[in-house]
Amino acid sequence: MAESSGKNGAEKQLVELETVAIRFAGDSGDGMQLTGDRFTNAAAVAGNDLSTFPDFPAEIRAPVGTLAGVSGFQINFSSRDIHTPGDAVDVLVAMNPAALKTSIGDLKSGGIIIANVDNFGQKNLAKAGYESNPLEDEEFKSNYDVHEVKITSMTRQALEDMELQSNLADRCKNFFALGLMYWMYSRPLEPTREWIEEKFGKRPEFVQANTRALEAGYFFGENTEVFTSNYIVREATYPAGKYRNISGNVALAYGFIAATKKMGINLFWGAYPITPASDVLHELSRHKNFGVQTFQAEDEIAAVSAALGASFTGSLGVTCSSGPGIALKAEAMGLGVMTELPMVIANIQRGGPSTGLPTKTEQADLLQVMFGRNSESPLPVVAAATPGDCFWTAIEASRLAVKYMTPVVILSDGYLANGSEPWLLPKAADIPEMPVTFRTEPEGFLPYLRDPETMARPWAIPGTPGLEHRIGGIEKEDRTGNVNYEPENHEFMVRTRDAKIAGIAKDIPPAKVIGEASGKVLVIGWGGTFGAITAAIEALQARGASVSQVHLRHLNPFPANLEEVLGNFEKILVPELNLGQLSKMLRYQYLVDTISFNKIQGKPFKVGELITKIEELL
């Protein structure tokens, strides 16, 4: 469907599209993340479904123009339900040759390139490792729809009369690119104008400069003959309600705030900065009005220790880190298991081993959190599936921690943490109440006397008269919690701790099969691969393939019905961004011959990769 548009300029085609993926790519200093963010917002407000994938370098500011310095932001937006940032992009905005080089492999054949030619000089080409300018290469040009745009010079022009230093003018060029994309995808400028006003309000010259650059980009699209059509992606038909765009890390922070508010206790956040977990700390430190205490500790060990100390004292102690930092917390997590105190440990996974790929995503810490402590040290593990789901996962983890008096691990990852999606805003009232009852009655109090149903011990906090007692990491006597070295007591306690965690299976929803309850292939996943797997499954199911999906939130214990579910399929495919960790767990637990499908590239799955793999099995 196409209609005609164009106000002052040439008559242009307005083409309706279902789904578009754009990648903004440029130097770290080029403001690509901000540009992406704004475009995301515009798409969200326009009612599209969307999914984003920011991808930035490990260096703060790698040398200008180098491949190492490229910062990218990909957004996929659609009039239908989508789940991933897109396997390949329709439009690539490349602010320099390095950006072109690192992203071109992800551009669809025939896709649009908006290249800032001002930056395609010899020096920059060389820095990117190009021997000649690809934009001038005939074959290249025939493969793509290349638009050479003088973004820098046109921005400078637009600001000419403002007497800005040129480097300030240059810093506005991302708004020019944004304006051009707004025109191309029929988005209004107004919300961004307002946002600029708000953000730069204190520096009027910034407001003016950025706004002008934005408009210049828009008008450039509208007026020049370079572009013969622009596009519209209509509202998606996802559930009605109030939405916002949310990243996983912000959702996680909100989840803990909401959970502790619902519990009526304080949140104590002990953390040590580490990519990609730091943003949760940043977010929470802005919300002290919820009674949130954020403690930037001297290291991860102090962070988890202080959190456990806070839990002992009646706050919900939470600690958050990424793989290498989680390794350091192992010993204190073990103490949490032994002392049976509520605590949540959030692991925002990144590429490893060791320092690895700090800014890239991976989901390879599942076995670490399951087993990375001395001796038998069981605790529940839950994983978030999408950015917005981080909110609900935080609530679920908090619920389990307090109800079962146990440390709980949340697994998120770099992709969820930084990526975003439109999120249907829950109402506070919709979040279940989870009132906490501290023990206050001295009569009959024993620190390790368990609730018959949950097997949880009482939460008896300092300051409560008559409940003075001592806990610690040495094996405890059943009921009294006193130090006890007896053989039978030890075996009893080891099995009791195990049974308590295993028993949580009764308190979690059964695994939900998406698609037929039995059939040829079951694809079972966990964590941030949800979007890609779902998209692949939907596509295949639409074609009538006998494939179903289970996505696990609870990784320990597994849902009670999981064995039965697995038994209903001929083949079990387990796609993971690791070498097969959930796969191992399913194998030892259910002796099922899982098929592992692994990718360890610091990047999410592409839908196409999954479809191809599943098709092999059908």
Partner: protein, 340 residues
Amino acid sequence: MSTTTAKNGGGLGLTRKDFQSDQVVRWCPGCGDYAILAQMQKVLPTLEIPREKFVFVSGIGCAARFPYYMDTFGFHTIHGRAPAFATGVKVSNPDLSVWVISGDGDALSIGGNHLIHSMRRNVGVKIILFNNRVYGLTKGQYSPTSLLGSRTKSTPIGSVDYPLHPLTLALGAECSFVARTTDRDQKHMAAMFEEMANHEGTSLLEVLQNCIVFNDGAWHKFTEKGMKEQNVMYLEDGQPLVYGPEDARKGISLDDYKVRIVEADSPDVTVHRVDDEAGGYAHILSRVELEGGPVPLGVLRKVERPPFEGLMVDQVAEAQAKGEGDIDALLNSGDTWEHH
């Protein structure tokens, strides 16, 4: 396990017995730890603080078993991390009287970093460092306070590590209350406990403690009759640095950053001041015995600085004063849109 009858303390006639738990004390007979425990159980009832407000946090080591023997709240944590746990406790409820019990290995070896960070933050916890110059619980290896050349299980031909001096380190970390006593000096120890109990911010007390099994006599010079008289100098704020038996009193001059032993009545004798902001005086004082003088016992430094937990709690309170958090408002913040 506590008794099941609540004691609300507050001058309500708490006694030593109220602070004794039902657990059998399991230190070696003759261990210096007993005296410290006894003194603590004597001092606490006098503080007019309800028993349920006391929390004892410890790491791992012989000393770290201390909380089990106190009928208060207690947390026997993991090796070296007690100050970090205690920070979480204190910040969660600043109203509690939080004591950290640690050994020279626990506090200074594996736990050195948490120790210095709690001190520089001035977290209001009271740290008692049982310094016996050895690893007791693991049966006799040298510790960071063992002397160079110490022969121990892990250094049968002598250690090659220079020791740390806990009080010097504490001053380097800008601890606001730094003191020392011995396990044999009951009254002095009690006085130190009381001063700590009343100090806001971090207080560190080094107790020279005898490990009768693995390092017997390490401190005899400072604790045994006939020796301690010559080798110990009691500190009093505003009083001159003098020590020694009545008939042979000496004084210490710290003029020009040097330690000199002088006559007790010499005008050069330095007058003690606990409020040493810049810390250089306390630093040199912490080294008097290394420079041939007596060991100073008492409060070396005590300065006032708002404690960490207060600043933390105030910041939260201030934020809340501007409007308590509301979940709906939070979720609806930023750009939102209605989808129909």
